[in-house]
């Protein structure tokens, strides 16, 4: 079978909508176009029924009750609502928030804003494998701590944090625990009660649903979490998020959640086999390549590799028929080397030469082989052109060399 180019291998960035999702959504654009808040006619009732069904589907994916799901415009909004909502609501209890340096910008920048407003935020470092250290977390907790926010799986390196352990710590100390589960939901088993999480952000477009719709799980019992609304208006979503519901999007998200739950086990098996195939082929063809982040605690479809002695942007240029992301481009250009990779303590030079591979529902073995073979040949070619590779092969220790700044 001839493969279709370009190949999409950036499933962490977004996923195409599953055709079954699109099919479920379509009637809600035209036939059943009602406003879910219209209480006095069947158009509204149909819409509300569809939203209720989706709410249940989303809740089922994460072991929650449908009443605990608040629909939003996506995970950026969910993260904002979770953190600002808790910060404002529990201001009298304390002003300290704990998060980690490798969180998504939607968390980091929200916390930065709160710092300007007088909150204190601890950004936990991560270990070499990308995981937070639980002792450091415990040590960071104070009487003022009102919220811990640690992502379930990282969007760049795919490592999975010890959420259940963090949940237990938070519970013991009576601190609310939020997790950005965008990359994990629908990919790995996730149960809000088993993990003891209180607030969870998810988004549809990373699990084969549409863009622009997401959800926030807000625990109703043990404890009952209260959030201060960030958008004022008609009081939709139990007052936590006003605005006419995106019924089509919500229906799509529900369907996507249902499919993800039903197919998770098979998909995990298939994708982890493909991911391992990609990894093996790269390791067979090349020396001096390094996996970024824990190999053990990792999403099944995720691989992030640094190719020593070649620069990321030139590498991407050589594989321009493959859609992947790179944590790269030199510091002089607009792009910065990835702050996530830097946080792992990878030398900047390795952060410059990393590629994130994200496999997904439509990835094939042929695609994996094509991408692996192409990378082997491009990396080999670029290394022949690399003064760093030459120096390293001559036995020069690059880390001790004096470089002239420019």
């Amino acid at each position: 079978m001839a493969i279709k180019l370009p190949i999409y291998m950036d499933y962490h960035a977004t996923t195409p909508a599953d055709p079954r999702v699109v099919e479920a959504m379509l009637p809600y654009f035209t036939e059943h176009f009602g406003n879910a808040a219209s209480r006095n006619h069947p158009f509204g009732w149909e819409a509300e029924e569809a939203v209720d069904k989706a709410r249940k589907q989303v809740a089922d994916l994460i072991g929650a009750n449908a009443k605990e799901i608040v629909f939003t415009s996506g995970a950026t909004e969910s993260n904002n609502l979770a953190i600002k909502g808790v910060a404002e609501m529990y201001r009298e209890k304390g002003n300290h928030i704990i998060t980690a340096v490798t969180e998504h910008k939607a968390i980091i920048d929200t916390c930065k804003r709160l710092e300007k407003e007088g909150y204190r935020v601890t950004y936990l470092p991560v270990q070499k494998d990308g995981l937070v250290n639980l002792d450091e977390l415990k040590a960071a907790i104070s009487d003022e701590t009102i919220l811990i926010s640690i992502m379930t799986a990282n969007n760049e390196i795919g490592v999975i944090q010890p959420i259940a352990e963090i949940g237990a710590i938070a519970k013991e100390k009576g601190i609310l625990f939020h997790t950005d589960a965008v990359q994990a939901a629908g990919k790995i088993p996730f149960d809000v009660n088993a993990l003891k999480v209180d607030i969870v952000s998810i988004t549809a477009h990373k699990m084969y649903g549409p863009k622009g719709v997401g959800a926030l799980y807000v625990r109703r019992r043990n404890p009952r979490v209260l959030l201060s609304a960030q958008i004022d208006g008609g009081g939709h979503e139990r007052g936590m998020r006003s605005g006419t519901l995106n019924v089509t999007g919500i229906v799509g998200m529900g369907k996507a959640a249902e499919i993800a739950k039903a197919e998770m086990a098979d998909e995990t098996k298939r994708l982890s086999a493909l991911r391992d195939r990609l990894n093996d082929r790269l390791h067979k063809g090349l020396d001096e390549i390094f996996i970024n982040g824990s190999v053990e605690h990792r999403l099944p479809h995720s691989l992030n590799i640094s190719f020593a002695y070649v620069e990321g942007e030139s590498l991407l240029m050589g594989i321009n028929d493959v859609a992947v992301s790179s944590g790269s481009a030199c510091t002089s250009a607009s792009l910065e080397p990835s702050y996530v990779l830097k946080a792992l303590g990878a030398g900047d030079d390795l952060a410059h030469s990393s590629i994130r591979f994200g496999l997904g529902r439509w990835s094939t073995e042929e695609e994996v082989d094509y991408v692996a073979d192409k990378l082997v040949s491009v990396v080999t070619r670029l290394r022949e052109m690399s003064p760093l590779y030459e120096l390293a092969k001559e036995g020069v220790d690059l880390s001790t060399m004096q470089w002239e700044a420019h």
């Binding site: 620069e311 030199c330 030398g347 410059h352 052109m385 003064p387 002239e404 700044a405 420019h406």
Partner: protein
């Protein structure tokens, strides 16, 4: 990032990739940039001692496609020039020839720096090699 056809051509068919012996007195080596900045360029010139003309030029670059193209182009331009003509190559000439966008101008600056570093290295070696001639042999220094 959209690359010009010339950048793509140099990236795909780089001219004069390679290395020459660093300790040859007729070879000047420039190594500029730094790995943590995401770019390192090595450029070498070999000067014919009889004619004073650059006979050969080689490069190796760790950097983006524009940095590779800039150094590849520089080696093409260096061949056949005298040392002083080589020093007259400006990064703006490279920018124009390769149609580099503003964010890629520094890649060309790196190439200009590499040329200067290589020529300076050559001159230093020549001076060290001819102590008897003294400063008089180096009017341009």
């Amino acid at each position: 990032m959209a690359y010009s056809n010339k950048v793509i051509d140099h990236y795909e068919n780089p001219r004069n990739v390679g290395s020459m012996p660093k300790d040859d007195v007729n070879v000047g080596t420039g190594l500029v940039g730094a790995p943590e900045c995401g770019d390192v360029m090595k450029l070498q010139v070999k000067v014919n001692p009889l004619t004073g003309i650059i006979d050969d030029a080689k490069f190796k670059t760790f950097g983006c496609g524009s940095a590779i193209a800039s150094s590849s182009l520089a080696t093409e331009w260096l061949k056949g020039k005298t040392v002083d003509e080589a020093l007259a190559i400006k990064n703006t000439d490279i920018v124009e020839e390769l149609a580099l966008p503003p964010v890629k101008i520094h890649c060309s600056v790196l190439a200009e720096d590499a040329i200067k570093a290589a020529i300076n290295d050559y001159k230093k070696k020549q001076a060290a090699d001819q102590p008897a001639a003294g400063a008089a042999a180096q009017p341009t220094a």
